[in-house]
């Protein structure tokens, strides 16, 4: 693949029709390039992954925000933001997500394609430089992060953690995870623990940062009207890691879910809300890398993934109990979560209907149209997701997290091959673990002047 091939230790090309995705390994970072003329922008997505753990979870959340608040050349948030504005409003944001038992920092940058600007300025090189600085050349004071930045971002992180409580759906979801996974790392919140924030010193954070840069798995996606050779060149020019960088292989997690359920945990909490928030967690014992992963997708779709699903049709349309009643799944932990907003008094009724829908599926009571519609919708969903640069990078990143090598076509083929029997087999594996119900006392939101 091109004259640059000899400089790099690996360069694989997926046999791609829908997406032209190339991978290049460069000093321990994997560069993924996707050449497409679809967009008016070029997107950069850095994914930095480590197993989520009690010791580092809060530091890592703080680190994400500190990194996006200043670099060596632009040592304050204001200067960094001005530099971005000058790049025709390039966007830069860092955020966190939990993918299975990994805590991933995503740093995303999007710049206008210069061909659409009246006075075409070379924004791409500047963008590469800036992005590499965010990761590799942060704003320092002495030998550690600038104290002012750390202090501000600590306050902001604490506020962000607190705000989960204010959004009752998010709060109920968080509580469900804490109860359901009480002895597994997956219980941890991706933003960390509020009471740990204050004690993190700039030095401690910087030491941790150096570990991250040395050991974490790092992937960079570049998507747009680009050429792979040029991008690889620019990456090797701008991204220079220290010599002792070595991905810590022992860190990769792929723990199979071994926990068997003997009894469903039922947790109630009361708050002053107008509507009860019902959240139910199921273990599926299937994750992205498994053969029956596609059957799990179809299971979830029929159960509560779409507006033709059993939950939507029965909880909402038939019984008028709720505005939303849906399920979603987590690919790398192998869980299905159900959520619905109901009258507190309708708790028993709603739970009964939801459980019944699952039982029906175990018995194979799935109509042809439910089955076919769901497969068509999943197919549609994947194709739509990859129309968006971030969606595309997320779909491709599943492979990194799961250690697989599936193309978009494999994916679509996998869904196509699923049979009803496969779905029933998955339905039988899926087991309810925990129900969390946030009950309403019903006087929320009184106004006064």
């Amino acid at each position: 693949m091109g004259k640059l091939g000899c400089r790099h230790n690996e360069r694989g090309t997926y046999p791609m029709g829908i997406v032209n995705h190339k991978k290049t390994d460069l000093h321990g970072m994997t560069v993924h390039t996707i050449e497409t003329k679809k967009y008016k922008t070029t997107s950069f997505i850095l994914q930095v992954k480590e197993p989520i753990n009690e010791k580092n979870v809060t530091k890592r959340a703080l680190l994400a925000y500190v990194l996006q608040s200043g670099t060596k050349d632009f040592p304050s948030s204001k200067e960094l933001r001005s530099a971005l504005d000058d790049l025709y409003g390039a966007t830069l944001n860092a955020d966190l997500s939990k993918k299975g038992e990994n805590q991933v920092i995503s740093i995303r940058m999007e710049v206008a394609n210069e061909k659409f600007l009246s006075n075409s300025e070379p924004v791409l090189d500047k963008a590469f430089h800036l992005l590499s600085q965010v990761l590799l050349a942060p704003a320092l004071e002495g030998d550690v992060f600038k104290e002012g930045i750390v202090k501000k971002e600590k306050r902001s992180l604490k506020q962000q953690i607190e705000s989960i409580y204010d959004d009752k759906m998010r709060y109920a979801n968080k509580r469900l995870l804490e109860e359901m996974y009480d002895s597994e790392p997956y219980r941890l919140n991706v933003y960390g623990n509020g009471d740990e924030v204050d004690s993190i010193s700039p030095k401690e954070l910087f030491d941790y940062y150096q570990e991250v840069i040395r050991n974490d798995k790092i992937d960079l996606y570049v998507i747009g009207d680009i050429s792979t050779d040029e991008m690889v060149d620019k990456v090797s020019k701008h991204f220079r890691f220290s010599k002792d960088r070595k991905e810590d292989e022992t860190k990769a997690v792929n723990a199979a879910d071994e926990k068997r359920i003997s009894e469903v945990k039922e947790i109630f909490e009361e708050q002053d809300v107008q509507q009860g928030k019902l959240h139910m967690g199921y273990r599926t014992y299937t994750t992205y890398a498994d053969d029956d992963y596609f059957a799990l997708q179809v299971f979830n779709g029929i159960f509560g993934g779409f507006s033709h699903s059993k939950l939507f049709m029965n909880v909402r349309e038939k019984e008028s109990l709720a505005y939303y009643a849906a399920s979603r799944f987590e690919s790398h932990k192998g869980a299905v979560f159900v959520m619905s907003g109901i009258e507190t008094a309708n708790y028993e009724k709603a739970v009964k209907i939801i459980k019944e829908q699952h039982e029906e599926m175990k018995k194979g009571k799935i109509t042809d149209s439910e089955f076919e519609q769901t497969k068509a919708m999943i197919n549609n969903q994947v194709l739509e997701t990859i129309d968006h640069p971030i969606g595309l990078s997320e779909v491709l990143y599943h492979n990194v997290v799961a250690g697989t090598n599936r193309s978009i076509e494999d994916w679509m083929e996998g869904i196509k091959k699923v049979t009803k029997d496969d779905v029933v087999a998955v339905a039988k594996k899926v087991t309810l673990d925990t129900i969390f119900f946030l009950k309403g006392a019903g006087t929320n939101g009184n106004e006064n002047v």
């Binding site: 003329k37 967009y39 008016k40 306050r155 033709h308 505005y323 549609n380 939101g445 002047v449």
Partner: protein
């Protein structure tokens, strides 16, 4: 049939106004998998006082009816239209705003089949007493879901503060009490008045052949008959320039207070290019005053008065307009004092060209980025078109703005007496 090319953006828009008055637009997006279509009527929650088509008497309809109608249009004698779309590999949805109701689908499969479903279901209402009653429970839960959402409460609370009479202050979904009154006849009356093709726009964006799609739609419409088009008469009470209330505090079970403040536009009656210029000027000014690269943002962030949730926006439609700024804050009163002080301070100094240019670059970049999204294009194009603006004028209008335009909105829009505040505070137990 018309065609407009936007060379700088590398886009070509095809359009046609059909004999029944329906405006159809098609934007070809090569390389995309998805086709996205919206069928939108110029009718929303503010249109609650009007003269029904073919009648002499004005009517006032229950709050929340436009949104209720949106829900009910999906139900037909044969069942739920959502199902028809999903059988055809499309996902459908709808939304109601202050002055629009949009029905939409996206698909990577058969565009024409889904387009027929979209047009036909919106043009063939089927309301019965039974299905109307059933929906009241569902929408009741939707209302409660929003009641528990502090971000929605503080946003809407601010709009309520601004207006004495204008129906923009009424929650789009109404209340459980107001929707209890809705009957199928009310729905038909609103439908007949506002869903005439001449009050609607169909927008299709995706990897399609524009000419083919246009003639397909034309064919569909020529097989249907509609009443003669009439001008729709809507009535609004005279709205004073002052705000109705200067401050409101809502108590909820939250840990972090929320505070929004806003300025009410005194003369929200612009249309066309004038409106676009005004809207973009206010937004540009907000960016200069409080954008992430501004000194004010840095100060507020350092003082702990704002966090990542801080945002601002200006919006104007025929009859109402306001700017808002806000987010989570530990000290809501101090937040208001500091921000209004900064606005006053900004008025005292002349506007600096560099920050003007930078803010403009940022805005142009953000606009280009949004053109990656078919949803943005279809929804915003329609919104602009209902206000006689053209989405694709945004970049040239930005480029034509001067420091003087921004100075003028600074003096005229951000007036102390037009300001109001809404806060969500921690409930005292």
């Amino acid at each position: 049939m018309g065609m407009k090319t936007f060379d700088q953006l590398d886009e070509t828009l095809h359009y046609e106004e059909l004999a029944n008055g329906l405006k159809v637009y098609v934007l070809e997006k090569k390389g995309f998998n998805k086709t996205y279509a919206t069928f939108t009527t110029h009718y929303g929650s503010v249109d609650n006082h009007f003269k029904p088509l073919g009648k002499d008497e004005n009517v006032k309809v229950p709050d929340g009816i436009a949104h209720f109608l949106e829900h009910k249009l999906f139900e037909k004698e044969h069942g739920d239209v959502f199902q028809d779309f999903s059988k055809q590999g499309a996902s459908a949805n709808a939304f109601t705003t202050f002055n629009r109701t949009a029905y939409l689908f996206s698909t990577t499969g058969d565009v024409k089949k889904n387009l027929t479903t979209l047009i036909d279901f919106v043009q063939e209402p089927y309301f019965t007493e039974k299905t109307v009653e059933k929906e009241k429970g569902i929408i009741g839960q939707e209302i409660r879901m929003y009641d528990d959402n502090p971000d929605w409460r503080v946003y809407f609370g601010l709009i309520e503060n601004m207006y004495h009479h204008h129906p923009v202050k009424i929650d789009i979904a109404g209340t459980e009490k107001s929707i209890a009154k809705i009957t199928k006849d009310d729905l038909y009356e609103c439908y007949e008045t506002f869903y005439h093709p001449s009050n609607m726009i169909l927008f299709i964006v995706g990897p399609v052949d524009a000419k083919d799609i246009l003639s397909f739609v034309k064919d569909n419409q020529s097989q249907k008959t509609f009443k003669e088009k009439e001008n729709i008469e809507r009535f609004f009470d005279e709205e004073p320039q002052t705000v109705a209330k200067t401050k409101k505090v809502i108590e909820m079970t939250v840990q972090t207070p929320k505070c929004y403040m806003g300025y009410k536009e005194a003369a929200p009656n612009r249309q066309g290019k004038e409106l676009m210029k005004h809207e973009l000027s206010v937004n540009l000014l907000l960016e200069m005053m409080f954008g992430k690269s501004s000194p004010n943002y840095e100060t507020l962030y350092e003082e702990g008065l704002i966090d990542q949730t801080f945002s601002f926006d200006y919006t104007e439609e025929n009859g109402f307009g306001f700017s808002m700024l806000g987010g989570d804050t530990g000290s809501p009163d101090e937040f208001v004092e500091r921000i209004s002080g900064m606005v006053e301070d900004f008025k005292q100094h002349s506007i600096d060209e560099d920050s003007f240019d930078r803010a403009r670059k940022k805005k142009i970049g953000a606009f280009l980025r949004s053109l990656n999204s078919p949803e943005f294009i279809a929804n915003q194009f329609t919104r602009y078109a209902f206000n006689e603006m053209d989405l694709f004028d945004v970049i040239p209008v930005f480029e034509s703005l001067t420091v003087r335009d921004v100075e003028s909105v600074l003096q005229n829009h951000f007036k102390k007496e037009a300001m109001t505040v809404c806060q969500v505070q921690k409930k005292k137990s």
